[in-house]
Structures are given as C-alpha cells and as structure tokens.
C-alpha cells in the first residue's frame, strides 16, 4: 500500500507556492488508478514522492510500510518503477536488448532470469525485430514501448507511468490497458498520470483529481468524471461520452457507450 499522510511540498525556487498541500491519500495494492489535473496541479510532484525522488517537507509517504524519508531512492527503485513521459529522457543503451537487460542485471537477477525477462519483453512489446538496433533508430511510438518494457523487465511491485498514451494509436491503448489489468491480477499497483481522458474513461476504474497542489477528489472514475463542477474546477475536459450526455441533456451522464445509447434510444423512442 502507498500512503500519503499530511504531505506538504514546495520547490525551492517557488517557496511561497505549495506544489503539494496537505495530501492525504491511500492507494491499495493491485489498484489501477489515474492521477488527473491541469498542468502545474502537482501530478508529477506527487508521483516523485512515491519512489522517493522527492521527500515531503511535512508529513510522510509510506510505501509498503517503509517511510520514504528513511530509505534511499535506489532501494525504492527496486519496488517502484517509473516510466517517463519522454522516452528519450530514459533510454540510453546501445541496443534494445541491452536497454532491456540493464535494470535486471544491475538488480542482481541471475542470467537465466534476465534472459527470460528480455525475451518476454521483446515479444510482448513487438520489439523482436529490433533486438540489436540502437533505441534512437526506433519510431517515437516504439521508443515509448521500449521505455515501458525496460521498466517491466525488473518486475516492480508498483508501476508509475507518466503520460503513457501520447503518440499511441487506439489499438496500442487497448493493449496497454490489457497489460495493466494483467499486472493488477498479479497484485501489482499501476498508477497513470495522464491528460488522456478518453483512455481513463474507457479503461481506468479509479481516479485522483489534483488542482493547485490540493486533492480535490478521489474515487471511481464513473462517479467523478461525470461531475461538471469538479471537472471545471480541475480545468479538465470531460470525456466525449460525458460531454455528449450533457449536450444531449441526458438525465444520467455516463462513461459507458451502452448506457448513453440506451438513454438516447429510450428518449427518442418515447418521442419526448
């Protein structure tokens, strides 16, 4: 479990401004959760507290019963994998295979285990043809998949992804969501920082809304993402189906295609 207890944080170059202001939040093991909020809301600051890159100035963050202030980033990194938004900020090896094997080798996994993980990653992320290729020769979408694959290669308990869907087509998003569900089934926690409201509406069951460093709301996406005022206060655009529901004046806005269609058919069928 990840627990934020009364966390405050501000950056040294903006001392008067709270990047995180009294955050209290619990994320259970096996959760699949999206962190939402406008630019500058505190999303990246929040996730950097989970792997210990940042330490709270007040309060504490506890990950699997360990206070992040009492341990090193290196030891947190074994448990918490962070995939950057821009893969080019993360990839560095000479070949795709070396990129994938770097972390498991450095964490001391035995060679057979490393090979198994690398082969799995190459197949799972359709990178087999690029095994010996330098990462920078891959396309943007392929580099993004490689960055994710290289983190999954050491099987972290908690996976955090910063904007994993940018530049991905709808087929890839479906596969990504399916991967998240498989990780959850293994008891792993998946946290996604994203602006992609459609992806959240279609695939992520729980959300946390941040705005100006404050926690505005947390809970099931289907309850939170239909609330106009909450979305407006967080400067978030609503998912398409919610906007459709509002524009059509439907009684119960929904994230579900079936429910929206049903509501329209009922209304049109009754001739009102």
């Amino acid at each position: 479990m990840i627990s934020f207890e009364g966390v405050y944080y501000s950056y040294s170059d903006r001392p008067g401004e709270s990047a995180l202001d009294n955050i209290n939040l619990k994320i259970e093991d096996g959760a699949l959760i999206a962190i939402l909020g406008e630019n500058g809301a505190g999303k990246t600051t929040l996730i950097k507290h989970i792997n210990g890159l940042l330490k709270p100035q007040r309060g504490r963050v506890v990950v699997d019963e360990v206070d992040t202030k009492k341990t090193t980033v290196a030891s947190m990194a074994r448990k918490v994998g962070l995939v950057f938004q821009n893969p080019d900020h993360q990839l560095f090896a000479e070949t795709v295979e070396k990129e994938l094997s770097f972390a498991p080798v450095n964490f001391g996994l035995p060679p057979e285990e490393v090979n198994k993980m690398v082969e799995w990653a190459l197949r799972e992320f359709a990178l087999l043809p690029y095994r010996d290729r330098p990462p920078f020769l891959l396309s943007g979408g392929e580099r993004k998949r490689l960055a994710l694959a290289s983190v999954l290669c050491y099987s972290p308990q908690i996976l955090i992804l910063d904007e994993p869907t940018t530049g991905q087509d709808s087929g890839q998003k479906v596969r990504l969501a399916s991967l998240f569900r498989r990780l959850n089934a293994e008891g792993r926690t998946v946290i996604v920082v994203t602006h992609d409201m459609e992806f959240v509406a279609d695939f992520i069951p729980n959300v946390v809304l941040l705005s100006h460093g404050h926690l505005l709301a947390e809970g099931p996406a289907r309850e939170i993402l239909v609330k106009k005022e909450l979305l407006e206060n967080s400067s978030l655009t609503p998912p398409q189906l919610v906007e459709l529901s509002w524009d059509l004046g439907l009684e119960s806005p929904s994230l579900s295609l079936e429910e929206v269609v049903s509501a329209i058919m009922k209304r049109e069928g009754s001739g009102t």
Binding site: N39, G140, D169, E198, Q240, D247, L248, V261, E268
Partner: protein, 290 residues
C-alpha cells in the same frame, strides 16, 4: 494547379527491410484543411517528411515518385526553397525551438531571408498576434508550457508566409485544453488566410469538425480519402485501429436501432440532428392524423 501533388510515392529508409510508403497518391488544393490519421507506424511521419523535402534530401534512402509543392519538385529543389512555401511542425517542441526569446525565435526565418527590418518586425507582430501569443514576446521558450511552445513554433513558420502548414501530431504532448486551443488557431488561420493545413492527429473528435477532408494511412499507403463524415462512417474503418469519435460510434448504433440517418461529427451536430428527426417525425405524425 493543386498546391500539393504527390504521385506514386514510394520510400524506404536506408538499410530498412521494406518500404515505409508505397504507391501514395495525394493532392491538396490551396485553402483545404486536411486531417491525416492512421495507426502507429503507418507512414504518417514519413509522409510529412516527404512533403517538405526532408525526405529524400536529408534522409537519403530509396525514393520513387514525385512530390510537388507549389510547383516545385522536392527532388529538384533544396529544402530551404521548399520550406518557404511549406512549414513543418513536429510533435515535440523541445526539438523545434532554440532561441533565447520568443521574438527572436519567430524572427529567425525572415532574418535569414535578409528582409528589411521593418518587414521582419511587421511579420513578427502579425504572426504573434494571429496565434494569440503577443504577450509572450519577451519570454524564453523554456519558460513556456507545451501548448505555448507549439504556438511559438507555428508563429515561427507563419513569418515565412507559407502556403501550406504541415503539423505532425502537434498536440501529442499537450493537455486537452491546449490541444483544442492549437487546433482552433489552425482552423482560424485556414479560414482567414486560406493557409492549407495538413494536420496529423489521433484525436479525431477534436479535429474532424474543422476538416474538409480526412485521409487515413494504413501500412504505408492511403486507404481512405474524402470528407470526414464519408470516411469515418464508411464500413471497415473501425478495424483500422484509429480512434473513431464516440459520437460516430453512437450514431452508427442509433442508425441500426432507430433508423437514425444523420452522420454527426460532434455532439452539437448529433443533438441538432436528433431534434431535426424528432420534428420531422412529429410533422409526419400530424400529417398522418389529418
């Protein structure tokens, strides 16, 4: 004469096992707003690089066919010449901006054309204003948000007075509000100045309502090309792995369930069309009663 003409274009990157583009035929008239989409790896970015001559002039490789921009064949004219007629905006502002202030960034192009100072100033003022970032003139691009940076990139191209703007997923790294703002600016430029826009975009629901045409790339070639409603409502388009707008998915189900005949591209259009069909049904009903 079309402003852009692509004939039988095929291209393979150096040392690549197969072509990234094959048999691509494409035309654009001045003033069109063309939305380009397709699954990852289908050749969209390669196509964009062919449009401004980066391929083959910078990339080499095996290039066949023709790309003609405002009468200039890209294989016979340097990129610098083509770039004065066609500007290209990329996904990642980090890769585009390099000056210390927005003003310098936007002035860079016309300065390199040795235009008179007064002309440069007037182009910079106009470009900043048309993109709504005059207030950011003195700022360093590094201080700006992603959306603001992309607007600077667009303004920097506008000072070259291009006839065509090609944008390769310019909103990929932007939050939805910034993305909408950028697309609205492009639509405004297209309407007012008749700049031809070729916009590669995954978020079809945002861009389709503004577009005259939707072009879908699939496996290195164009599979669909036509008015957005024709393309997005055509059979088989769901299987291509592109993000079909929810309003289109709903309209298709309503067609089967209610005999709904509209082809809306936005929720406003759906709402208007449903109301239109309701009124028509009432009128028909009243006529039947009479």
């Amino acid at each position: 004469m079309p402003i852009l003409e692509v004939q039988a274009l095929s291209y393979s990157y150096p040392d690549s096992p197969g072509p990234s583009l094959h048999g691509v035929n494409f035309k654009a008239e001045q003033g069109e707003f063309i939305l380009v989409t397709g699954p990852s790896g289908c050749g969209k970015t390669t196509f964009c690089r062919c449009l401004n001559g980066l391929i083959p002039n910078s990339y080499g490789g095996d290039f066949r066919g023709e790309v003609i921009v405002d009468g200039l064949a890209t294989t016979e004219h340097p990129v610098t010449e083509v770039a004065q007629r066609l500007g290209l905006v990329f996904q990642n502002p980090e890769n585009e901006l390099f000056c210390t202030s927005v003003e310098r960034e936007v002035a860079f192009g016309p300065e390199n054309l040795s235009l008179p100072r007064s002309e440069i100033k007037s182009r910079v003022d106009e470009a900043l204003s048309s993109v709504g970032i005059s207030h950011l003139r003195e700022k360093s691009p590094e201080e700006l948000s992603g959306g603001e940076q992309q607007k600077v990139a667009i303004a920097a191209l506008l000072t070259m007075k291009p006839k065509v703007l090609v944008l390769d997923e310019p909103t990929a790294n932007l939050d939805p509000l910034s993305a909408e703002s950028v697309v609205n600016i492009l639509a405004g430029l297209n309407r007012r100045s008749k700049v031809t826009i070729v916009l590669v975009e995954h978020r079809l629901e945002m861009a389709a309502p503004f577009a005259d045409r939707c072009v879908i790339f699939d496996n290195g070639t164009i599979s669909h090309d036509g008015p957005p409603a024709d393309v997005l409502y055509s059979d088989g388009v769901d299987a291509l792995g592109i993000g079909i707008p929810k309003v289109v998915q709903i309209a298709k189900i309503l067609a089967a369930g209610l005999g709904f005949e509209g082809r809306p591209l936005s929720s406003r259009e759906l709402s208007d069309m449903l109301e239109g069909e309701r009124k028509e049904a009432n009128i028909m009903g009243r006529r039947a009663d009479v």
